[in-house]
């Protein structure tokens, strides 16, 4: 009798789940996008999700299980958001998702357009040597940097 109840509960749960509409559906997978206005940027978001109401949400896959979100990932996802916003005529959420190897996903608040433009300008200033670049705060990152020797000498 108890076995029968378990089977009925599982079947009912399955039926309810199959009738529920999916919350997110993939809208775009690894499509190359580029813009020239307000700044020249390009990128290939791993996934762009579409919600029930048509809002798009950018997502990026990280092949690690540790769920810490780094500043570089927030920047990357924010650029994707701006690219999607400027190329698709649909509303884009001001947050994105980082998907990890263990299938967990973390919601991340993204930078706005003004902040990305400022960062883009800073990028060119750093690259052209007009401003002194900041160093990483994580010494562990230097272990895999090919400029380790030059950096210590400067």
């Amino acid at each position: 009798m108890s076995f029968f109840i378990v089977v009925v509960v599982i079947a009912l749960y399955w039926w309810i789940q199959s009738r529920r509409k999916p919350k997110l559906t993939p809208y775009m997978l690894e499509n190359f996008l580029k813009i020239t206005d307000p700044v020249a940027l390009c990128g290939k978001p791993d996934v762009v999700w579409k919600t029930h109401d048509g809002t798009l949400i950018v997502g990026d896959y990280k092949s690690r299980e540790n769920q810490q979100v780094y500043q570089s990932e927030v920047i990357q996802l924010s650029v994707y958001k701006l690219l999607v916003e400027k190329t698709q005529n649909r509303p884009v959420a001001d947050y994105g998702f980082i998907h990890f190897k263990n299938r967990h996903m973390v919601k991340v608040q993204l930078m706005n357009e003004k902040e990305i433009i400022e960062l883009h300008q800073r990028y060119w200033n750093v690259k052209d040597g007009r401003i002194k670049p900041c160093m990483t705060g994580t010494k562990n990152y230097c272990r895999y940097c090919s400029h380790n020797d030059e950096c210590c000498n400067e």
């Binding site: 997978l29 020249a40 990932e73 690259k127 670049p133 990152y141 030059e150």
Partner: protein
């Protein structure tokens, strides 16, 4: 102005000095090549899962064959009824971690194929 990629701009969040040195001394990816290669492979897997091109369906493949109608129906069921939901994805993930062992058992004891085939066929018929 030259187009900046999202990955390139993201380096500003790691180390600005690296951005400067990469530009002036060139970028050497030999130290990170292994991580890049593994990352590319896993990105491809992620993409295949989302696009429904993931052909894994271990038990059905072992019982019916890789391109059998039954295997295709079960893959379709996975993509349409399991992958869109969190519980479905957890179930699929659990299934993928267990099924290689079940396939090993089937290979060792082919008689197991008969009840498994019967159950899967019953399940497929009930979905129609």
């Amino acid at each position: 102005m030259h187009q900046v990629s999202a990955t390139e701009l993201a380096k500003m969040g790691k180390c600005e000095r690296q951005v400067y040195l990469d530009h002036h001394h060139g970028e050497d990816t030999s130290l990170t090549a292994k991580f890049i290669k593994r990352g590319n492979y896993e990105h491809e897997q992620f993409n295949r899962q989302l696009s429904g091109k993931d052909k894994r369906c271990f038990i059905a493949t072992a019982v019916f064959g890789i391109d059998a109608v039954e295997t295709k129906i079960l893959r379709q069921f996975r993509d349409e009824h399991l992958m869109p939901y969190k519980t479905g994805r957890t179930f699929t993930s659990l299934y993928y971690s267990l099924s290689p062992y079940i396939v090993n058992l089937i290979e060792r004891y082919p008689a197991l194929m008969i009840p498994i085939r019967t159950i899967l066929r019953w399940f497929i018929r009930s979905r129609r």
